[in-house]
């Protein structure tokens, strides 16, 4: 017996109050996105123009240095660069030239702004334009900011993709409508979605970002796009500015989210309900079977989300509605009301939502509530474990394939494993 989700007339958390806090934020900056973006776009290089701190951040957040010569690096600003901006520009040109000579396979170079480069007002868009002239057509050079004064963690991906939108080729005026899936997904998930859309006879489908810089998808008034990630506000705006239309939907996490997400595209393409049912029913059934085991372990478990990736609301919705978990507090670094409208409507009424962070006060609330699982960053996890709380590292939810039907149980397992572990070690 699978749990039946009651259909209620209420509107979830659509108008729910949000606790807005200001204080110390225990989150990564947008530079961290480079860790997964450089794996996704396989001929792109990310050059951070920043300080030693930026370089240290990326290598520490990446955890291990698997790639001896990775496709990211930092041009570390030193005091001579601070003395004169003209020289800083000349230095940047020298560094980029050396880099591209060394790595001829690079087709797309992002100059990534950081806190120091923003504060000294080093104009990376002009630098990108200047360098593009020297290196076109072999290498396209773009820029975006991953600075901590402007971006939080996953917003780095948003800034990166938004910078790429103007480079997308224009779709032919008479082109048939096409679907664009926006947001970096694991390749395996992307392939699953491509197969699903194929079975639905829905297409053509493009994924953005592409795996190769040369395979940028076309965009135009015929483009309908689905956001695969909840943190892509600027990218969506840039796509809309080029005539594309967003298909409003919850995010494809869990069976319910994935179904509603696919349904949004199916409706736009006029796929019959029978066909949709025929294609998705076996997948839903399989995913539910896989989830059932986890539901038994997670039902009634109290969850506390610290803000991290902006995935918190969709995750909380999945945990509450498909696994029966109770939500103590759902924190998010930034709440995009429009893109998350469908998610908010699905959240249980009365859920405590918080935006921004004062980590000390949030820790006080967390300790007082004694939740069964705390979803938090790497800086907080071990200290909370030492206090007897069970934690799940939020960053793993970003690095692990969790989207779509066949990953729903994997996602649930990310929550059940720490619980099971604690029980085993206590016993």
């Amino acid at each position: 017996m699978s749990p039946v989700i009651p259909i209620r007339a209420e509107i979830g958390c659509a108008d729910a109050p949000v606790l807005r806090e200001r204080g110390q934020r225990e989150v990564f900056c947008g530079l961290t996105g480079i860790i997964w973006l450089h794996r996704k776009i396989q001929d792109a290089f990310f050059l951070v123009v920043g300080s030693r701190t930026c370089a240290h951040l990326i290598q520490s957040a990446a955890g291990v240095m698997i790639f001896a010569e990775p496709r990211f690096a930092t041009a570390i600003i030193d005091e001579r660069d601070l003395a004169g901006l003209a020289d800083a520009n000349a230095e940047l040109d020298r560094v980029v030239t050396r880099l591209l000579e060394r790595r001829p396979e690079i087709k797309l170079l992002f100059l990534v702004g950081s806190c120091p480069s923003e504060v000294i007002k080093l104009d990376l868009s002009r630098a990108a334009a200047r360098l593009s002239q020297s290196f076109s057509p072999g290498v396209r050079i773009l820029n975006y900011s991953g600075s901590g004064i402007e971006t939080t963690f996953t917003q780095g991906e948003d800034a990166c993709l938004a910078s790429l939108v103007p480079a997308l080729p224009a779709a032919a005026p008479d082109a048939a409508p096409s679907l664009m899936v926006v947001g970096a997904l694991a390749d395996v998930v992307e392939d699953q979605f491509a197969r699903l859309f194929g079975e639905l006879d829905l297409g053509p489908v493009h994924f953005f970002p592409p795996r190769q810089a040369g395979a940028l998808p076309p965009v135009g008034p015929g483009t309908r796009f689905l956001l695969a990630q909840p943190f892509l506000g600027d990218t969506a705006r840039a796509l809309e500015a080029r005539g594309a239309q967003r298909l409003a939907a919850p995010f494809p996490l869990g069976v319910e989210g994935t179904t509603a997400w696919l349904q949004a595209a199916a409706s736009a393409w006029g796929i019959t309900p029978e066909r949709f049912e025929q294609v998705t029913a076996p997948k839903r059934e399989r995913a539910r079977r896989a989830l059932a085991r986890h539901a038994a372990e997670l039902a009634g478990k109290r969850l506390f989300f610290f803000p991290d990736s902006q995935l918190e609301l969709p995750l909380a919705r999945f945990m509450a509605r498909e696994l029966g978990a109770a939500l103590v507090e759902v924190g998010t670094p930034y709440l995009h009301r429009q893109h998350l409208a469908e998610e908010l409507a699905l959240l249980p009424s009365g859920t405590v939502l918080s935006e921004g962070q004062d980590v000390e006060r949030q820790l006080d609330r967390c300790r007082a509530a004694r939740p069964d699982i705390v979803v938090c960053g790497l800086g907080l996890a071990n200290p909370l474990e030492a206090e007897g709380l069970t934690t799940k590292w939020a960053i793993e939810l970003v690095f692990t394939p969790i989207h779509g039907y066949d990953q729903a149980a994997d996602l649930a397992e990310l929550f059940t494993r720490p619980l099971r572990r604690r029980m085993k070690l206590v016993a």
Binding site: G23, M65, E79, D81, E150, L378, G379
Partner: protein, 549 residues
């Protein structure tokens, strides 16, 4: 601008965090944007500390820049004091805040907090992590001793045991925790009491008591050097200069401490118990002779490791380097002793190129060199920061003292043994009893009645020992002799393709993989110089004889 893939050191404020986190009762208010909190995970994840580092980040944003970031700093400092009630506060700026010039010092003074507040000036665009740690510790010591009389301490009663401080151990240090424990035991046996250990585990009040000791033991010049020399200047406190890494250096350290403490070292040295020197002398270590080793790390650990490698284990140091420019002079002097070119750089690619060029048989380095060595298929042991989670082992594993020398022997020799074992496994892969499909030998070869397990195991062990001894002797002998020769050789640029006869190629495959490359190159060079083609079994052994002379 410097193009950097990986950095050996973090920014200087991370060094300050290492001091603050090591101590008790200290809180650090860092003017910094969001994202800089990543540094917390160095301590909670890599070192697995069960508490958050005592650091408050002001977390200013772009929209604050036109407004009042100074007020943000004051609020954060005030709240941090109220919440944590530290005995001393550190205030400072990270790289970005340094640019907006809010003057944390003046702002903190304006708050008139009831505890000492130490303002840190750590120039992020010039300096790095170790310097930041050393400077922070020095500033803290100075601040806590600001009112102390500038005289050598003479308060110890004549009958009392001499006492010393241990300086330099921090959070996130390479085995600092275990080194402190080892030295505590060693000095205790010698008859010296430990007065204060700092920064690790010290409170601000403990720092006030530093001059009450007779002398300082400077464990890590990188992080404790500035404070130790200031204490010498101000209070006439001598400091040890020997770093007790390796059995020999530990004996010299004991002698140095005994001299400073006015004690007799002979009894302590006679009682000194270290297996490492004996293990190095034992016959099975013969194969370690002249193993070509490349050493890289912070200056203290690299210099010490080179000495142990050369003088205690009988290796040949073929490369020595450090990322610590502050200690370039010391490193250059050490490099002279081994007749190698010192490599002083923090460019990871340069180090990798050097390792690839030198083709050492063992790399002693940092986490970075571990990755380099892995890529190049060379055995490696970690001897220095930067560290990763596996460099904080659950077991007691010091680098210093006599136990530390034992740890060095095990951790450096083990990767070499592993290399040899892997070779043996490869060699027997095609053997009639050890091929992949064969049942494990200890289960018997399909005999109907299995013999008593103990007997079978004994026999198997005996056979295995013989086999290992023989193959190790023969295969290693071939390889060793060939590997020793021709270390200087860069192949001439002329294109010359070596042709190998089948039997020679087969024979080459019997040489352990970690020296096979060298043997191949030497043989090919020998053949090329003499215009021999193809390379036969005879050429292989002729080359061996030639280079082995």
């Amino acid at each position: 601008m410097q193009l950097t893939l990986w950095t050996y050191e973090g920014p200087p404020h991370v060094g300050a965090m290492r001091v603050a986190t090591a101590m008790e009762g200290v809180h650090y208010v860092l003017h910094a944007p969001q994202g800089d909190t990543y540094a917390d995970l160095l301590f909670t994840m890599i070192e697995r500390l069960p508490k958050r580092p005592p650091v408050t980040y002001t977390t200013f944003q772009a929209r604050d820049l036109g407004g009042d970031t100074a007020e943000l700093f004051k609020t954060a400092a005030r709240d941090a004091y109220a919440r944590y009630q530290p005995k001393a506060m550190l205030v400072g700026a990270s790289c970005t805040a340094e640019l907006i010039q809010d003057d944390p010092d003046g702002l903190a003074k304006a708050l008139a907090l009831p505890v000492p507040v130490v303002a840190l000036e750590l120039p992020s665009y010039q300096r790095k992590e170790h310097w930041g740690a050393s400077e922070t510790f020095y500033q803290l010591v100075r601040a806590m001793l600001a009112d102390a009389p500038r005289t050598a301490y003479t308060g110890r009663a004549a009958a009392a045991r001499p006492r010393c401080n241990l300086l330099g151990a921090t959070a996130l240090g390479f085995r600092h925790r275990d080194d402190v424990r080892e030295l505590r035991t060693l000095l205790g046996q010698l008859g010296v009491d430990i007065h204060v250990v700092a920064p690790l585990g010290a409170t601000p009040d403990d720092l006030k008591r530093l001059p009450e000791a007779d002398f300082n033991v400077l464990m890590y010049p990188e992080t404790g050097g500035l404070a130790a020399s200031w204490l010498t200047r101000q209070f006439g406190m001598p400091a040890t200069r020997t770093i007790p890494i390796g059995a020999k250096a530990t004996r010299e350290f004991v002698a140095e401490v005994a001299a400073l403490a006015g004690l007799d070292a002979d009894a302590a040295l006679a009682a000194a118990d270290s297996r490492s020197p004996w293990y190095a002398r034992s016959v099975d270590s013969t194969y370690l002779t002249d193993k070509r080793v490349f050493v890289f790390g912070d200056a203290t650990h690299a210099i010490a490791a080179a000495r142990v490698a050369s003088e205690e284990f009988g290796f040949q140091v073929v490369g020595l380097g450090s990322y610590a420019r502050e200690f370039a002079r010391e490193l250059r002097e050490a490099a002279k002793r081994y007749g190698v070119e010192p490599l002083i750089t923090d460019d990871y690619l340069e180090v990798e190129a050097k390792v690839a060029e030198l083709q050492p048989e063992l790399v002693l380095g940092t986490q970075m060199e571990r990755h380099i060595a892995k890529r190049l298929g060379i055995p490696c042991a970690v001897i220095s920061a930067p560290v990763h989670v596996q460099d904080f082992p659950a077991r007691y594993s010091p680098q210093m003292g006599f136990e530390g020398a034992n740890v060095l022997f095990d951790t450096w020799v083990h990767p070499l043994m592993m290399g040899l074992e892997e070779h043996l496994i490869g060699m027997f892969r095609g053997d009639f009893e050890f091929h992949e499909d064969a049942a494990p030998s200890h289960l018997g070869h399909g005999q109907p009645a299995p013999r008593p397990a103990a007997v079978a195991a004994d026999e198997a062990a005996a056979v295995e020992q013989r086999v290992v001894a023989q193959t190790a002797a023969t295969a290693a002998a071939v390889a060793e002799v060939q590997a020793t020769g021709g270390a200087e050789g860069a192949t001439p640029a002329a294109i010359w393709v070596a042709a190998w006869a089948q039997d020679a190629e087969k024979e080459l495959a019997k040489i352990p993989f970690f020296v096979r490359g060298k043997a191949r190159r030497n043989t090919e060079r020998y053949a090329q110089e003499r215009g021999i083609a193809p390379i036969t079994l005879e050429t292989l052994y002729d080359a061996k004889a030639h280079f082995g002379r």
